[in-house]
Amino acid sequence: MKPRITLGIFIAAALAVAMVLAFFVSPQASSQPDGLNKVAIDQGFSDNEKTHALDSGPTAGYAVTGVGNDRLATGLAGLIGVTVTFAVAGGLFLVVRQTRRPHEAVGHGAP
């Protein structure tokens, strides 16, 4: 149970896996209704769904607008999503870390 790779390599490899899944595998994903949507259809409340306010956005529905090839449109949307999610989450935690006051940081140092 020892680390085998550096943190940098781990992060890069995990990000690469996420991008491969989002670009190459997500276009093959099942397009059947998901569990909740199937239940909504079967139980007769799916018609209550309102159109999403951002439904005309450039990447709405996991497809980049204007890309003719459906698989490519989905794959590119996946890449955009992985990149944006990494940036937003990383940014959020950077900000959260900076909200910690210096004296608190010292207090929570070595046990």
Binding site: M1, R4, S26, P33, L36, K50, T85, V96
Partner: protein, 232 residues
Amino acid sequence: MHIPDGFINGGTSAGAGVVAVAALGVSVRRTAEILDEKQVPLAGVVSAFIFAVQMLNFPVAGGTSGHLLGGVLAAVLVGPYMGSLCVAVVLVVQALLFADGGLSALGLNVINMALVTAFGGYLLYLGLRRVLPRTPSGVVLASGIAAGLGVILASFAFTFEYAIGGTGGAAVGTVGGAMIGVHALIGIGEGVITGLTVSSVLAVRPDLVYGARDLVPGLRLGAGAVPATVGR
């Protein structure tokens, strides 16, 4: 399991939004206390990975599909507080960029897919760790089972929300039975993906697995302020 606008009425959705914001605020405060510099990119990559895998809908019985929720996976990797924030980021990006999950339903979706799974599912994980061997295999098995059960917990949460403010007048018992039935199947996929991912991280960087800190003495990452609740 992304709820669109319109399935749950406005008042219930707004109330859920308040609950979600309050709970995420607690997560932010607790995260600020324990966050290690090295965990910033780690949390980013956990979020990005969950986003990618959430795109991979796999077929389950009867013309239905399901995808990973990821709350238990995130909680096992970075702890429930950071983990709930990682999944919440995914849900916000999905709602704003990809029109997946209604804007008014964002609070409901955060409760079901980020909070119930990361906290409820992680409690199940801790319980399972107590009865399973204190080995890497025990960690993988506990993660997988807790992840599968976490999906069922999330479907209970939806049923509860539908009981309070559901539209369309379907019988709550029928909705609940159908939700739990189909999500028990989706939970199998959640469990397999979670187990495989935790197993992979354990193989290369066991010190990065928050839920396995008890197996890696002396290699704790940013865990100085965290009470070790596993196995003590």
